[in-house]
């Protein structure tokens, strides 16, 4: 297993190197980094010239690529074209917020979805199963932005009618959240609605997977064998069926996490939440390529890492999968 992980990490370096070149090349040719400045009447020709020189924009793309790679390792991914802000601190900040959002939402979603999925499968075609199925289809069919807006409307109205303020706007970096319990309470109030929004979509997906794989497993021969041994039904389900049913779900969750950490773009945008997705969206609007490229690089790394996590988790759960 260890050899496998090391080997995969080495492959990952190659993959990320290739990714970095593709990212840099395509982003560079897609937009003139100075177009935004050129449209500003206040930006003088001299200023633009200076920036161009400082960022080596007059050089050919391969040379700029090398400067960029150098910045990536030694200089916090370089600075923004406009404002000359270092990029890495901003990325770290939004990453932190997204992590809080995604971890909270996914934890809730995974626990609920496993419960719902297993119970649905064990009580197939019961009222509970039908309700859960309906909820899942509605959840999957509901556009995230709409759900987010409706939640906002709901809680704003609760505030207006009953003067109860449960959730706050998602201005995460405004004031110091404190530590310990006060930190948790502050995050719960700020992140509550985005977490609910994200969790609903995840619950809908995961519970369907859990139900399907559990159904497949409870009708399998080895579960019948377990029952024929005289095991208690609870042990049959939890030991023999559940462990097997979990395998496909773990893969899906690990892959999904990689995607979610790149920011739930829509959710974060609707809630103006200062996370990965919102950051990316804003940088695209500004048309500054350097933050966009830095963001893409971080996301590429995350995807590679979570693919590896998925494979390792798979190997731990399923003895048939061995990587040596």
């Amino acid at each position: 297993m260890l050899t496998y992980v090391v080997r995969r990490l080495l492959y990952s370096i190659v993959v990320l190197f290739a990714a970095s070149f593709i990212i840099f090349f395509f982003v560079s040719v897609s937009n003139d980094p100075l177009s935004f400045l050129r449209m500003q009447p206040t930006a003088s020709e001299i200023t633009i010239e200076n920036i161009s020189e400082r960022k080596h924009l007059d050089e050919p793309i391969p040379v700029r690529y090398l400067y960029w790679v150098q910045d990536m390792f030694t200089n916090q991914f370089g600075t923004t074209t406009i404002g000359d802000r270092p990029i890495l601190p901003d990325l770290t900040r939004v990453m932190g917020h997204t992590l809080q959002l995604v971890i909270a939402a996914e934890l809730i979603a995974i626990l609920l979805a496993i419960g719902i999925g297993v119970y649905s499968a064990l009580r197939q075609y019961s009222a509970f199963d039908y309700s859960a199925t309906t909820f899942s289809f509605v959840g999957l069919a509901t556009p995230v932005f709409w759900l987010a807006l409706m939640l906002q409307v709901l809680f704003v109205n609760i505030y207006l009618w009953f003067d109860i303020r449960i959730f706050y706007t998602a201005n995460l970096s405004g004031i110091d959240p404190g530590t310990g319990l006060s930190f948790l309470l502050d995050r719960a109030q700020h992140l509550g609605l985005p977490v609910i929004t994200l969790a609903i979509a995840s619950i809908a997906t995961y519970s369907r997977f859990m139900r399907a794989s559990m159904l497949e497993v409870v009708n399998s021969d080895y579960v019948r064998t377990a029952r024929a041994k005289g095991l208690h039904e609870r042990k049959v389900t939890m030991r023999h069926a559940f462990r097997n049913a979990l395998i496909p779900l773990v893969t899906i969750i690990a892959l999904n996490l990689g995607a979610l950490l790149s920011g739930a773009v829509v959710t974060e945008t609707v809630f103006a939440l200062d996370g990965m997705g919102f950051y990316y969206y804003n940088q695209l609007l500004l048309g500054d390529p350097y933050p966009v490229m830095a963001w893409l690089m971080v996301v590429a790394t995350l995807v590679v890492v979570f693919n590896l996590v998925a494979d390792i988790a798979y190997g731990i759960l399923d003895p048939r999968v061995r990587y040596d």
Partner: protein, 343 residues
């Protein structure tokens, strides 16, 4: 005659399917005596396994439905006793070997642990160490080499034959009084089948369990069984000791089975298949379910209208057949056999 250890009485089970209600077994009755091996033969879908599966509570209900009957084990009706008591019997006094060893073992647990689990379920307070020791003994008994090492392997590291050995070890772990083998060799290739038959024999000798052998392999029946139950379309059509069934069958279906069997004791040019297909279990033919395929019915009305009861011949209830014209069949079969005699 000794007391039977297991008596199935008038067992009727239905399944609800999308196309209608399937009556999987109808009025199935047979006894299992201590120490004997009872073969249950019939083609796929004839209800061979359903009677024992129902008895052990392994048929999911719904879609299955118990319509009536009893399954008496040591005088207690297994169909009526509380779930907890049935669990204690299942895997303990009555154990099963399943058809497909490839899918019948849990892929994510070690082989040894799966057998130990069977031991520990039925023996309170058996320590992990003792269970391991006993499991290794069992694995050695069924002929798994390097049992100590193979205890810690997973099912995918075992071959089909080795897995079936492990299944047998699991089944005999608690010294069962009744051992049920549901097509134990069907999923294995022929060379392995012979080995597994030997293991089955060893297992029987070790536990002295009465065995029900469910199979469509008449060769296996001839090899292992003392008495035979022949099933067709969910009913018992013939029951008798193995020599009677093979030498003087009294039901046209059994005769058909024998004629379609390659035998070294008869020099035959051709094997004769039974014409037609097994009947639909949703709407079985009226009267005798076998009559559309029967070579002896010759369009007689009684076969189409009246369901033949299972009735005895000569020496009491040792040989039973469900054919209206079973007596006639004897003469028929003898001439047929004579015609096949080498000239």
């Amino acid at each position: 005659m000794p007391e039977p250890v297991l008596s199935i009485r008038d067992l009727t089970v239905e399944f609800k399917t999308e196309d209608g209600v399937v009556r999987a077994v109808t009025d199935v009755t047979y006894d299992l005596f201590p120490g004997e091996t009872l073969g249950i033969v019939g083609e796929s879908g004839s209800g061979k396994s359903v009677s024992v599966m129902t008895m052990l509570g392994l048929v999911p209900m719904p879609p299955g439905k118990l319509v009536g009957g009893e399954a008496l084990y040591k005088g207690r009706d297994l169909l009526k006793i509380p779930k907890k008591e049935l669990r204690n019997i299942r895997g303990g006094e009555v154990a099963m070997i399943f058809q497909d060893p490839m899918t019948s073992l849990n892929p994510v647990f070690k082989i040894g642990d799966q057998i130990s689990e069977a031991l520990q379920t039925h023996r309170d307070g058996l320590s992990d160490g003792d269970a391991r020791k006993k499991t290794i003994e069992l694995l050695e008994l069924v002929g798994v080499p390097y049992a100590e090492r193979r205890y810690d392997q997973y099912p995918h590291e075992f071959s089909g034959g080795m897995r079936q050995r492990a299944m047998i070890a699991m089944a005999i772990a608690n010294d069962p009084t009744v051992l049920i083998a549901d097509e134990p060799t069907t999923a294995l290739d022929v060379t392995i089948q012979a080995q597994i038959i030997e293991v089955m024999r060893a297992a029987q000798d070790e536990t002295n369990a009465a065995t029900i052998l469910i199979t469509h392999d008449l060769g296996l029946v001839a090899e292992l069984a003392d008495r035979v139950v022949v099933m067709y379309a969910g009913r018992v059509v013939e029951l008798g000791d193995v020599h009677t069934i093979f030498n003087s069958p009294r039901h046209p279906y059994t005769v058909g089975l024998m004629n379609s069997l390659a035998r070294v004791d008869l020099d035959r040019e051709w094997l004769e298949p039974i014409p037609g297909q097994p009947p639909s279990m949703i709407s079985p033919p009226p009267g005798c379910a076998f009559h559309p395929r029967c070579a002896f019915s010759r369009g007689r009305e009684r076969c189409r209208t009246e369901i033949p009861p299972l009735r005895g011949f000569g020496d009491g209830l040792a040989h039973l057949s469900a054919c209206h014209f079973a007596e006639e069949l004897e003469a028929q079969h003898v001439t047929a056999a004579l015609a096949l005699e080498p000239s």
